[in-house]
Symmetry: C2
Subunit: 133 residues, 2 copies
């Protein structure tokens, strides 16, 4: 049996987060000692590991709840594909931001320089942007 601090450390989770997961029903209610402290078994540890892995991949908690519920139906594939599409979307948007920001930062050469910095003008100038954000 593990304490909450132990499963937290083993999965790279913070202790309040473990309690939060229990509170919203992602983790089952833990057994308690006579004094009221939580104790966990191997299954709980694995489940938390699964949750943290899925979180690290960007799945939302509701998606994770669905993944934990279905246990083998076809839905898992659809959820993962949707997540992959989301990630690719975000990548594309970030790439546009990056080039725009690089342009703005580049619009005045040095950081410690003397002249007035163009960053504010560049930020105010919407029309110079490629498009859509």
């Amino acid at each position: 049996m593990f304490t909450i601090g132990q499963i937290a450390a083993r999965t790279g989770t913070k202790v309040p987060t473990v309690r939060y997961y229990e509170g919203i029903g992602l983790l089952p209610e833990a057994e308690r000692t006579a004094g009221g402290q939580r104790r966990y078994d191997r299954a709980a540890l694995d489940r938390l590991g699964f949750i943290r892995h899925a979180r690290a991949l960007g799945f939302g908690l509701e998606d994770i709840r669905a993944l934990l519920d279905i246990e083998g139906h076809g839905d898992a594939h659809a959820i993962a594909e949707r997540q992959l599409r989301d990630v690719r979307d975000r990548m594309a948007r970030l790439a546009r931001l990056e080039s725009e920001l690089a342009r703005i930062v580049g619009s005045c050469a040095g950081g410690g320089g003397t002249g007035p910095c163009r960053v504010l003008e560049a930020l105010g100038d919407h029309d110079a942007c490629a498009a859509d954000h």
Copy 2:
């Protein structure tokens, strides 16, 4: 003079968001008609445009507040550079997620197929990941 709906439409903002910005002090308090409705001038419209542009580039509201306050000191450049670093960090992390997710989704070939889908196993299998998330 513009109504709140007009400046919202012109800047691609939702009306409650404009009121929210006023509430947190990003926009000055608007003049009011006798009946209590907000009216805006050109300066307010420009300021809101600046805010929305900066938001679209991923700046947080506190950064934007700082950008609006300084009006020409060297800080703007530093803030923009930090934002650019943030964006590049996020891009790198997303790229790792993307390859991991693609692997997981690819681990079972078809969506509408018959056999059991490996997505859940792949999600549970932390060790197969390249690293660090």
